[in-house]
């Protein structure tokens, strides 16, 4: 279900320009530009986690991660 507002035409046009520019870059370059590493508190503090269900994982994120990381359903 779509709940987000549509972008205005100028924003959409700017995105299309970015998509065009990206399409001219080789995959290797796109990949290098995409992966930005920053420390995420709590999330990055364990080397391994596993959850029986995806719902358990979502619930864990909601309860344990700072809301500003955006892994929950509300800020």
């Amino acid at each position: 279900m779509k709940t987000e507002p549509d972008p205005d035409p100028s924003e959409r046009a700017a995105w299309e320009t970015e998509f065009e520019a990206a399409s001219r870059r080789p995959l290797k370059v796109r990949w290098r530009y995409a992966f930005i590493r920053t420390y995420k508190p709590v999330l990055d503090d364990a080397e391994y986690r596993s959850f029986e269900t995806t719902a358990d994982y979502r619930d864990w994120c909601e309860k344990n991660l700072p809301s500003w990381l955006g892994y929950g359903q509300a800020v």
């Binding site: 998509f19 990949w31 992966f35 590493r37 995806t54 358990d56 994120c61």
Partner: protein, 157 residues
């Protein structure tokens, strides 16, 4: 802290998964980046078919890539726990056996895209998964991702 996820490492995943016959699809923003979506992300999500044979193949490939999996962790991957977060290797990787918004691996596989040997979910599945998850960070990225999907469909040969 894990190191930056370099393209050469992505190639190593691709090649190790191919060598071991792992049934996988890149999902999430990393999948969208493979399709050409210009955006940033921090880790890669792979959707794995849930079967013991596929879990066993994935464990073998991940160990070859220097993920330090204990026997217990390997066992959890073999049996396909729905969500496994790996930060014990050369880069961060989420193994997703049951993503939100996608009913079956076979459904996603029937629509998948191959980009330079990488198997990637169709943009509709990436969007469906993010929409079903409904996290703040996914809601923020969806309008741009939908615009990219429209652009990608127009450009697709």
């Amino acid at each position: 802290m894990a190191k930056q996820f370099e393209y050469t490492q992505a190639e190593k995943i691709r090649d190790a998964f191919a060598e071991h016959g792992v049934r996988y699809l890149f999902l999430g923003k990393s999948g969208a980046v493979l399709l050409g979506f210009p955006d940033t992300t921090q880790d890669a999500d792979v959707f794995l078919e849930k079967s013991e044979a596929n879990g066993t193949a994935a464990v073998a490939a991940l160990r070859e890539l220097d993920f330090a999996l204990t026997d217990e962790q390997a066992s959890e991957i073999r049996r396909g726990k729905d969500f496994v977060q790996l930060k014990n290797g050369p880069f961060d990787l989420d193994l997703v056996f049951a993503p939100d918004g996608i009913e079956r691996f076979s459904d996603a596989w029937s629509r998948h895209i191959e980009i330079e040997g990488f198997f990637v979910c169709h943009p509709d599945d990436i969007i469906a998964s993010k929409a079903a998850t409904n996290r703040v960070k996914d809601r923020e990225s969806l309008p741009r991702l939908r615009a990219f999907r429209d652009y990608w469909l127009r450009r697709r040969p």
